[in-house]
Point group: C3
Chain length 263, copies 3
């Protein structure tokens, strides 16, 4: 149940360590605060391992990567795995440039993330070289890359969470589709990155990363629907999304949740 996880996050305020991109740091931190988690951003080689030692989840996001940041992500990721805290990888723009694809693949191999969350083009790029990613947008739907998501889940031994109009979450033989959400979500920068950060918060309090990923995406989608009903455009939508995350109650989560498949 997403609602139970939300309650736990609010009660425990788990520290979620993010090594993420410049564009979305503010929105990511506010998303985590709104759901009740405690965000921290730290990327210096001098401190990433120590910060991981205080955290309950690590989120790695390659949106504006450069050499030293990749190194910090590797170190933090390995420290997280040693401590057995969940690691979420967001391969932003993988498939658009070789540097991004190779970095994403290197992080998968060296860190072995618990959950990979990306859009359909990014997920496809991790399995085949010509994915058609254009910049950081997706040219595919999650349904179109279902086979690749399953293959990636098996190959990387992790949960794969593919966001889109209908989100798809797979793990070995488990699969769930989530129909919550709103088109305005693709008009605000960092919504995907916020989804990855929320996935980290849910994974921090839920032992089953497949359920955590699904609950996070359901929560994202419900907050998006609530915000869309009050907004005049993408600006007020982004503000309302943060408000909605903070206001989520049990009844609205139960009533709005629209998923298909087995959790």
């Amino acid at each position: 149940m997403p609602w139970k996880d939300i309650q736990t996050i609010r009660a425990q305020a788990p520290l979620v360590h993010n090594i993420t991109n410049y564009v979305v740091m503010n929105f990511t931190a506010n998303t985590l605060l709104a759901i009740g988690a405690a965000p921290v951003m730290a990327h210096a080689l001098e401190e990433v391992e120590e910060m991981v030692g205080l955290s309950r989840a690590l989120v790695l996001n390659i949106g504006t990567l450069s050499g030293p940041w990749v190194e910090a992500m590797c170190r933090a990721g390995r420290a997280a795995r040693q401590r057995q805290i969940p690691v979420v990888l967001d391969p932003v723009g993988s498939g658009a440039t070789r540097f991004r694809t190779e970095t994403a693949l290197r992080l998968i191999e060296s860190v072995r993330p618990t959950i990979i969350r990306g859009n359909a083009s990014e997920i496809r790029s991790l399995l085949c070289e010509r994915s058609g990613t254009r910049g950081v947008d997706s040219v595919h739907t999650p349904a179109e890359v279902q086979e690749e998501a399953l293959a990636l889940s098996r190959a990387a031994e992790c949960v794969v969470s593919v966001s889109g109009a209908a989100d798809l979450i797979v793990s070995n033989d488990r699969m769930v589709r989530i129909f919550n959400g709103h088109p305005l979500m693709s008009r605000v920068t960092g919504m995907g990155c916020a989804a990855s950060a929320l996935t980290g918060a849910f994974a921090a309090v839920h032992d089953d990363p497949f359920a955590a990923a699904a609950h996070a995406m359901t929560t994202m989608g419900i907050a998006g629907e609530m915000a869309a009903e009050q907004s005049l455009g993408p600006g007020s939508f982004a503000v309302g999304f943060i408000d909605a995350l903070a206001r989520l109650g049990e009844s609205v989560v139960l009533q709005r949740k629209r998923t298909e498949g087995l959790l």
Copy 2:
């Protein structure tokens, strides 16, 4: 017509590659998404040229520059010129420190931007050493630097777009003034940077960079007027500005447009 360009941007969602400053990345990306373009931020030497290869415009902004970023801007800029896609340069704070002025001049020489967009103090600093820039604010009006803007346009063989209470856009023997806008625009950080990014989006879809720069500034100003009518201060104004960009329709653009000079 600005409206025709807006329609084309919405229909084609051109990818606009930004190498810009940390302060405004989020607002810049949301501005581009709101008008209908697709933003991407990438600054690593390992990928800038490849990312330029996917893009239809490049925007270089020196707001929080440092050595490696300048190098990335040079490389990306040269790749853009080779591919013949438009390059917009925003010389943020040029004239305030020698590093900024020299970097702006170096980028002009090495990249040969299609359009330079700045405030009056920044534009003046590119032609004379003591421009009186104070931090990143302007102490001059566009009208006061008209001669310098014309001289810069001739010297650098590019369009020069000077923003202020009345924007001035010049190119060789062409000149236009744009009277749209609102004083609240100077109370939100990154409005000038957003203008440069929008200029990139318009230049991506319009072959004539002079018209593209003028249409971008007109669109900025109209969205600013619409936002000001609904806002309680600079916070809600910034939100409303993004909403307004996304909501712009043909009639509001036609009715509000206030320009003087020949396009």
Copy 3:
């Protein structure tokens, strides 16, 4: 009187130079613009000293520090002291990792800040190694660290401003408590950083840094109360906070101000 300082800031628009963290740069700049100051962000070694030369206050914030940024902070800080402009240090996350604590202590020793502003855990960490900072949140209240704040003020010969539900500002034998504010302030990222930036703006126009720090925190708190009354959650609260700073008038400041102690 906070109101007199606000009027001076609005009249003079002092340039406040910030070397701060990626997460909050946008919100910090908008906070400074809203109160009437002129923000500039610059961190390159090539220009920090020159930028300090144009500024009336310097704000150093270690929220997402790394080696080159620390070096820039040291240089800028020393330049500021030579020019006798006030320096505000925000030791974000000090106590969480050794790198942060050591950097904060190094900046105190090498720069000798005019004002240190942090939460209770951060302030404690500067005097004793095991402060219990968890990430960037505080696990103590300002009242609990009163002795440490006084000791730090004496040892570092500076004003110490501790934020929390009730803010505490100390300097040698002076002490004031400020009861303005709202719990939503802790649900928005960068509110503490905004407080440090505002403290810089007030110190730029007020010769007495103790009074400047107190007035800045009072102003923060009042704007937070005003915003909370209009908001639906942390998203609209952050927007309303910026609006409120820009709208502050004499009567609301006088009526809402709740302080205890001698200014």
